[in-house]
Symmetry: C2
Subunit: 234 residues, 2 copies
DNA sequence: GAGTGGTCTAGACCACATC
DNA sequence: ATGTGGTCTAGACCACTCT
């Protein structure tokens, strides 16, 4: 793990533990460099991570300040740090209702960066968390990437399988949030009333080797939905 | 404008103009440094911007590649580059239905980083785009930041006013997306049927001087809602 | 003017991918 | 072994804020 990430982790946990308090001014850059034994540019990289995560704010001429925010709330923001932990829901109460191999259409070919007609897994899963219906998950995965996908894997954690068994790494994910009317099965599982839509998170996941791992649509009862992110102006 | 942003802009537009094609490998780092007359670290900063925006992918040992994506679609991703342009809707068909000054409650005090009881503007606006109902916008702004806010300003672009007249700069925005049932007025304006929720984007906008400019809730008919973002794994 | 961040460079050295 | 990106450093110089 690079030094700048270690330093970011240290400072982040100091903020979360209130060693650096809300609204407080941090020591200035050179002082931090001395404390954490690094060069100015390295410290800048570390602090930049925390800026992007919304923990601190830097002002030329004034200094670096801890954002006057509820730290617990900050920790729920979706960013590079939390993407992995989002996948950790994967083990809970999964019912696989569809598991088939089909030739993909033009839409999927575009998303998955493969040719129209190439075979893909088509998986539909109904998932509960703490016995409460949570998500209808529709996933398409190129067959060529994982020729030996098994039903058992889909019942447990697909993410674990990808990471630990296949030694693949997700590099980035494009997320698109929209809302739509469910079909009858979805409505019944998600316990939606007449006219109520689900929120859909459509994800395209890229591996570090450049391949697209999957195109997935997670459909969630809007009552349970929350998405937080932090956008920094350039 | 720093050199690394200029270089990022140049390379981004080459990608958008297909001078660097989808899926193509870019010249390697040192070559790019020669082409754009800069140092390795500067080029790295430039390319990092494009990685975050989802235009390119870098692989240690292999090279830098243009993502095999529809460039037009990439341009709709919400990130530092597009935050500003989102505010450009601000001029369209605005009806101000509430404009008052009230003492804030504990919830707002927390969001705006002011004391409970401090005065804030409370603004509710109904906005149409191309004569179509688009958003119910509820905004709270600390009175102390803008003591002279006028009704006229709210009918036009609040963002323009902040930027050009007040010379303020938005540094970052925390966005939280949820969905809720409307009240009667909201339902009627947004043309929602019985049981249909709106999607809410709650935003906390920070200025470069560290103050919170506003807490706003934009409530949108779910049929018209779309939010795209790109998340890079660390 | 003093304090503080931001940018840029030159160069050393490391880590990973591919052949 | 070679090609390619990633990290780290030392130091020069610039830009903004505050008082």
């Amino acid at each position: 793990m690079p030094k700048y990430k270690e330093i970011a982790d240290e400072i982040r946990s100091k903020i979360l533990n209130n060693e650096y308090e809300r609204g407080q001014k941090l020591p200035y850059e050179y002082m931090l460099c001395v404390t954490y034994h690094c060069n100015k540019e390295t410290m800048k990289k570390a602090l930049e991570i925390l800026v992007k995560e919304g923990y601190i704010i830097r002002r030329r001429g004034s200094g670096t300040f801890v954002k006057d925010n509820n730290p617990a709330e900050l920790d729920t923001i979706i960013n590079s740090r939390s993407l992995t932990s989002r996948h950790r829901h994967d083990h809970i109460d999964t019912k696989v209702v569809t598991f088939e191999v089909i030739p993909c259409n033009a839409f999927l070919a575009e998303k998955l960066h493969i040719d129209k007609g190439d075979f893909v897994y088509h998986v539909v899963r109904y998932r509960k968390i703490n016995s409460q219906p949570y998500v209808v998950s529709v996933t398409y995965i190129p067959l060529s990437l994982i020729p030996n996908l098994k039903l058992e894997t889909l019942k447990h954690s697909f993410y674990e399988f990808i990471t630990n068994k296949m030694k693949m790494k997700i590099q980035s994910t494009q997320i698109t949030i929209t809302a739509h009317q469910p079909n009858e099965e979805e409505r019944s599982f998600l316990e939606l009333k007449e006219n109520e839509p689900y929120i859909q998170e459509a994800c395209v996941s890229y591996l570090t080797d450049g391949h697209v791992l999957e195109y997935s649509m997670d459909r969630i009862n809007y009552r349970n939905y929350e998405f937080k992110t932090n956008i920094i102006n350039q």
